[in-house]
Structures are given as C-alpha cells and as structure tokens.
Symmetry: C2
Amino acid sequence: MGKTDWKARAKALKKDLKAMRTSQAPVAVAPKPAKSVSPLAPAGGFPALPRIAGASFAAVEAGVRYKNRRDVMLVHLAPGTTVAGVFTRSSTRAGCVRDCQAKLALKGTEAAGAAIVVNSGNSNAFTGAAGDRSVAEICAATATALNLPSARVFTSSTGVIGEPLPHDRITAALPALTAALTEDAIGLAAEAIMTTDTFPKGASAVVQTANGPVHIAGIAKGSGMIAPDMATMLVYIFTDARITAPSLQKVLSAQVGDTFNAITVDSDTSTSDALLLCATGQGPVVRGRGLATFATALKGVMLDLAIQVARDGEGATKLIEVRVSGAADAPDAHRVAMAIANSPLVKTAVAGEDPNWGRIVMAVGKSGAQADRDRLAIRFGDILVAENGARAAGYDEAQAAAYMKQPELVIAVDLGMGAATRTVWTCDLTHRYIDINADYRS
Amino acid sequence: MGKTDWKARAKALKKDLKAMRTSQAPVAVAPKPAKSVSPLAPAGGFPALPRIAGASFAAVEAGVRYKNRRDVMLVHLAPGTTVAGVFTRSSTRAGCVRDCQAKLALKGTEAAGAAIVVNSGNSNAFTGAAGDRSVAEICAATATALNLPSARVFTSSTGVIGEPLPHDRITAALPALTAALTEDAIGLAAEAIMTTDTFPKGASAVVQTANGPVHIAGIAKGSGMIAPDMATMLVYIFTDARITAPSLQKVLSAQVGDTFNAITVDSDTSTSDALLLCATGQGPVVRGRGLATFATALKGVMLDLAIQVARDGEGATKLIEVRVSGAADAPDAHRVAMAIANSPLVKTAVAGEDPNWGRIVMAVGKSGAQADRDRLAIRFGDILVAENGARAAGYDEAQAAAYMKQPELVIAVDLGMGAATRTVWTCDLTHRYIDINADYRS
C-alpha cells in the first residue's frame, strides 16, 4: 500500500470528521447496568461525555467468552492522532501489552490515524507464541478493514489468564464494528470492556485554551486484580487537542502516580494494565504553558476514572480514602498508605463497620516506613482516634462507630516524622469478593 | 533483696525441680477443642509433649476479656535457665515486646531462674505509657510471687490492639497461677494463649546427644495477622538442654527464616510477635558439634508449630505449600513465594477449588523478581500446568480440578532463572476469614 493511498484516505477521513464535528453536544448513550451494581457507583449512571472530533467508536457482541453482551470495542482515530501510553510493569505481562509498547516506540507514524481493538472475557496473557499470533492477526485484520498500517493498531484483552484467545471471533466481528463506528458510541465501548465491573466508567473535562476549548473524554474498566504498577487495567482517554506525541507522553506519565497508581482493590497487579491517551488534533493546538492547563484537566479525568475503579472494587460496599501525612519522605508515605489500603484486616474491619484503629497501627508498623509509636496520630474523618502512642483522651467509640456506617470513609494517618504526604483509594473486603473470585472461571 | 536470698531460693528451687524430674513420661493434657476446629488441624488433637525438667506451667481464667476460658498462663523456669528470643520488627510493636528485648540484652542474669506471663484477649499494643506501666506491674507482681528479679519476668499479650489492659485482673490471678504450677500443664498453657485459634498448637522432639537425651517441647498461638517479620505471633519453646545464652540465641535466630518467617495467613504483620526459647539446663550439656544436632531438632519443632499456625489460618479450609525453584537469588525466590502466598486472588481460587493457574502467573509477574514468561513452569502437585510461556501441551483441566479438591495442596513454580529455592506455607481465603475479622471486636 503506497504513501498516496494513506494521504487520500487521510483526506477523506478528515472531511468526514469535519462534518461530524458540527455538534459538540454531550453523548447520552447509557449502557445497560450490570445485574447488581456497586452501591458506590456514581449517582446518575454513566456520565454524558463530550464527542471528541476524530474519534469514533463501536461495540458489538462477538461471543469471545460472554454471551448476550457486547464484548469487543473498536475505536477509530483520525489521521494525525498522537498516542501516548503507560502499561503494567509486570514481568508476565500480556503479548498485547508488549505489542502496544513496541508500537508506541515508533516515531512519526501519526499521519495514518490509528485504531484500538479491545475484547473482554479473555486476557490473552500467558498464552505464549499462539497469543502473540492472535495479536498479530487482530492487528492485521483491523489494519485492512480501516486501511491503516498494522503498526497503528493497538489492542488490549482482559479476562481469564492463560486460555487461548479465539481471535477469529474478533476478526469476524470487524465488518459489523467498522459499519457501526460513530462518535456517539463511547458509552457502548465502556460497556464492552467490562469484566467483573458492575458499572461502566466514564469521565470528561472541557478546558478553555487560548486557541479554543479542548475536550477530554475517557473510559476505564477494572474491578479486581487492581494494584496498578505504572498504569491500571484498561483505560482509554481521548482528546481533540493537537499535541505532539512526546508532549502527550510526558503529560500522561506525570499524572499516573497520583491517579491510577494511587488505587488498589486487592494488592494483585494485572498482567494487562494499559492506559492509552489519544489526541486527535482536530481541536486547538496545545503547547507551552497550555500544557499545564491541559495536564490539570487530564489529571482530573484520570483521577475520576481511577476512583471509579476503586468504587467498583470486587464486592465493595465502602470507598476508603487513605490520607498519609507527616512521612519522612515520599516513598515512606506511599508505603504506609498502601500498607493500610492493602491490609485484609483493615478492609474486613471497614466491611464490618468496626472502627478497629488498632489494625491501622499494625499496618503502619509493618509498612517498613520510619514511624514512632508516640508521634503517630490517627483519624477517622475528623474524629481523632489515637495520638501520643495511645487512644486519644476524648475518643468516643460510639461516634467512631457511627462514622463507619457511611459509604465513603477517610482514614487519615499523620506520622509526625516529616512533611511527605500521599493519598490513595481502596475499598473494603467483603464476602462478595470471595464469591466473585472463588469461581471466576466457572 | 540481697544476693544471698537469691542463692537460697535457687537452691530450694533446684531441689524441688530435681524431685519433679523423676518422671519423663509424656504429658497427656488435652485442652478442650474450640467450637469449630479447623479442618486442617493435626489428626489426633494436641500432641503428647515430653515434660521439660525445670519448666512448670499453669493457666487460669482471669477474665481479661474472654469469659469461661483460661486466658492467662504462667511458666516458671528453674535457676540457670538461659533464654533466647526473636520478635516482630514492626515499628509499632507492643510495650511487652520492647520489654522482653531489653531484658534479653542483659547478661549473666540466669542464676535466678525466669518466668513468662502471657494473657490473651488484649494485646496491650499502642496503649502508650499506661501500657508500659501495665507491663511493669505484671512483672513486679510476678517477681514478688516467685521470688525473682523483675528483669527475669518476660510477658506477652495478644488480642485487640489499643485497648487499655486491665493488668489488675492478671496480677490478681497470680496466687492461683503459682499454686497450680506443674510440669504437666503445658497443654493448658497452649490453650490459654489462643485468640481466634481453633486448636492449641504443640510440637516436640527428643534428641540423643553424647551426654544423654535432650527434650524440646514448644507451644504456639496464631491464626490471623500472620505475616511474620522475624518471629511470629506467640511461640514458647522449652528444652532441658544446658546451653549458654549466646549459643541458644544463635541457634534460634538461624532457624527462624525457614520456619516462622516462611508462613503467612493474610500478609498482615502483628505488633506482638514473640518467640522465646528457654533452656533450663537440667538435662545434658549441648555445645560444639552437639549444637548442630540440637539445631536440627529445634528446627523440626519450629517448623511443625509454624505449619500448625498456617493450618489454623483464619477461615482456612486448605493448606497451601508454595515451592519456588530456579530463582535468580534467594530474595527473588522469597519474593515470588510470598507474592503467590499472599495473593487474595490465588487464595480465593484455591478456596473455590479452581485450578486458576493464570493467577499464579500474575503473582509471579507482580513480585518484582526476575522472571521470563517463556522459562516459567507451574505445577499443581505433580501436574504440569504451564511451561514455555503457555499452558502445557498435555494439561488436563479435569485432573487439575480433582487435585484442587484435596485439603493440602502444593503449588510449585520453577522460574528457570537460577538455582535459588524457597518454600512457604499459607492457607486459602474464605468467607469465614471475613466473618471472623469483620466483627472481631464486637
């Protein structure tokens, strides 16, 4: 396929996209809710997300594993779209993750546009050479269908680990997917990537820049095996901003630490975590000082999606915000926050609405961070529970027990050792987590 | 109290103890079982333990927190007893742990004998200056009752963290405890230190040395908050060997890594972990090459007790042995073994009898150890599940599912990176763990 073909295709696509860009009204596609939605799901259901000029979506039932639900999504991105990504650092990460990483390392490929294909139900992880071939087959078929180079097709798979992926079911769905592509279907895409999620996750922002408004819309999936190490689970964020690929990657990487790397459901890190940020370039140019404004808005979208993942933690009935202050340094602050957020004993106590702050003391103690029993202060929300190495003088167990009945809790720990802080989010550990995971594959 | 008093007392005690040493028949005190005993409890109940000359035991109901059960134990150790210990490295460890550590640092104190006082129901951890005073009060009262220096009274407390300890209930029980002291009551002591344990834990060994037989008997408690970091929970081991304090400490410290530091129930490290090893010196001298023989027997007792703790993991229905081989180095082997043993997803899959080996791949991946997807091999018992980066060619899911129905499972992982190995023990994660811990304090 010659260069001219790409140019012609790009022109045609640009024309199409320009026509589609006339309306910027919010998209109102509400995916159908799962059987038993997390009690922590955002009120109002899936949010209205702005259309992103140059990004169109489709989702269909391909029957990869699940029946009677959409399980494959396709995103088509206009020529000129720059793509940035962050991925799991797992040493057993899936072939599709390695494939995305290799493709993002290529420079100057944006002229052709891009595509993202994601299936749920099977993660195609630890499937060896056959799994790598599945990725290649899906990329090649998508490239043909959309007249793109394979190098610009990014794939993710999420679901059971170690089962061969029936990739033919995905490639067989491509005609239906390409036919259904529309800027309005981001909500259906959010639904198609769900596994044990109980609700689809979306978030957006509109930033005013010197060159006009920039739109950001993102979707995520994730519920269990959540202890991101670099990025988390599957997250796709789209913007119409015109940003160079290196700037896009820099902005994205800078926001991951305080957003997706600040949540945990069960301390288990996925083999498939992937976050792709795509800038279609159909809207205003963003560079220089505009990047900081864009970064702030992007961080807001990322944090919103990350907290939605914690809200949909497998079996969750409580959202827990762990705030650590007074740590000797940043790694210590993170260590303490994660020791609390990952402690099965803290999480079961929260599930039982028991203000069992002794377990927070335990988690601080085991974290390995510098700590001193007599300088530690612990709060549930605004309630001072412990200080000076013992229970606080005015501590009222009944008041703390009443606080624990709320669906959203803050556990605040001040170490009194320095000035470093860290906030992370997690959920409680309930019977439902066991139910979901004791028979996940059956 | 003058030095002469101690000598007279020591002489009297030695005489008493000599009289008691006539019988070395096994003690057959079977503590009453808990309401619902772990299905993994050793067959045959509490084992027959040999009497240890110079060590006498008592346990009574003091009503510290629990009703209608023994909750305080006292051990009285003959003059000349050397004591060694290992303790949690938690930065929020309890006052009684710090007190034991300070006392073990004193040299040349063994002439007076020693005592150990342990209560269950309240850990006296994170109880500030008041907690330290409670430790001092218990030690002083015990010292008076047994005519010992306070510096030779070691205490432990286990149970809820952060509640003031009603130490007067313990000191009030001292007359009854001292009156009940007998070499036969080690089983009652094992019962008195239980919290969420469903069975008392004991193990023993008899080693033949050039100077005659050496007896070792030990007891332990532990069920939840088990991720030992140095020692674990409460463990008391007694021997009639005559060993110097430095040798005793050296032998003890060398065995901890492969025994108590090789088990985990829930990745949460206690504030109160303590292991005391007491050598009464009433039996043969052990030194030089005899130390190696003694160390091997001691390791057997420690491993037996450690695995009993894993068997009694809160809510456990399966005992899991995780064997890692082929790691690049020892820290990597430990990291991978613990990543698997602590993974909530691996443990819930085992609870559901699901051979979900993909989660083992995940745990290897997240561990941070050097690993290569294509060199990894995974086995359930003798069943080869995965190799060469994918499911093994002859893998039979029905056969693996049948294997998972057994109460004791081996998960073996070969990393193919080097020669380091590590074996650790854990249990599955079930509804019962949630039940126990969601309302532990109520």
